[in-house]
Subunit: 157 residues, 2 copies
DNA sequence: ACTATATATTTGCATATGCAACAATATGCC
DNA sequence: GGCATATTGTTGCATATGCAAATATATAGT
């Protein structure tokens, strides 16, 4: 028979608590599941869901500086440097050359990027529907509310 | 004056809709913000929040196969191979060698891993409190409910 | 035992992410 | 103008993630 010291028992309870309650673990799973839904619908267009999010943001807010994109999306600037590089290479966005600030040029969507966007909308809608079905009205409401109240996102209406 | 064709207007509205409503974008931001909270609290222990999640799961469910961890966490097996390798190297987990299935051995927590876990609990709690404060009761309820109903996670009580 | 199929894991490739340190430019103060 | 400081962006490093293909083992059917 195994010896069960009091601290071991306490430790077990702590582990149980983390597994059963950790909010991050749940948020990360939600993120993975939702990402795979959107990636799945977008795959045939050759862009990932992350890239679509960047593309619509630039299309809407551009010309926009990297730092401002980062603030809106709570993304590290270094991540943006790299993620945007891929999109520049693909010709979906471009740098606005007007030399206002020598540290870097704001970004804007290209005609090619705008074309791609308009093609993609139905697939995005499909993914959005699947996501909504998964998380329910309650989930949708919460994500939007959090976005608006805590992350400063536009809320539409 | 710029010419505004009807399709352009439609396209603009679509972009506006995606920016204002995309559930994935919001879930990803939530994920980044929460991850940074937990990473921040755990940093001094030399492990990331992701690794803590893996560690508690193995501690609770081990010996457990990679495939089963993947199912619980909705994680691709290939991701697990790599993430677990780091934890094996750090000596927090180990392979159970009893040769049941030659395709791979189940994983279990080591004494070192268990020690680390018990030290970390207070920091996890701090992070959990910060997260709870950010997303509110409503957010907490939703994440737990989604975890339990849609992702098959244990719900504790 | 043999073969076909199913299951578990790993590898190659590509993207996503953040921290720390660095580089470059901008800005404010004198 | 010239220096100190703040802002913006990039690089090196490490981890996290998933798909497709390859590998290896297990299992079922004969």
């Amino acid at each position: 028979m195994k010896l069960e010291l009091p601290e071991m028992k306490q430790n077990k309870e702590n582990i149980e608590q983390i597994v059963c309650e950790c909010l991050l673990s749940r948020a990360r799973i939600l993120n993975r599941v939702l990402t795979s839904i959107y990636d799945d619908e977008l795959r045939s267009y050759g862009l990932k869901a992350t890239q679509l999010n960047l593309l619509v943001l630039v299309a809407r807010a551009g010309p926009v500086r990297r730092i401002d994109i980062g603030k809106r999306l709570h993304l590290d600037p270094s991540t943006l440097t790299r993620n945007l590089k891929i999109m520049l290479t693909n010709g979906w966005i471009e740098e606005l050359i007007d030399g206002e600030d020598g540290r870097g040029s704001p970004l804007q969507v290209t005609a090619k990027g705008r074309d791609l966007l308009s093609q993609i909308v139905p697939s995005w809608r499909k993914a959005q529907d699947r996501a909504r079905k998964l998380i329910g009205d309650e989930g949708e409401t919460l994500l939007k509310r959090l976005g608006a109240r805590k992350f400063g996102l536009p809320s539409g209406r």
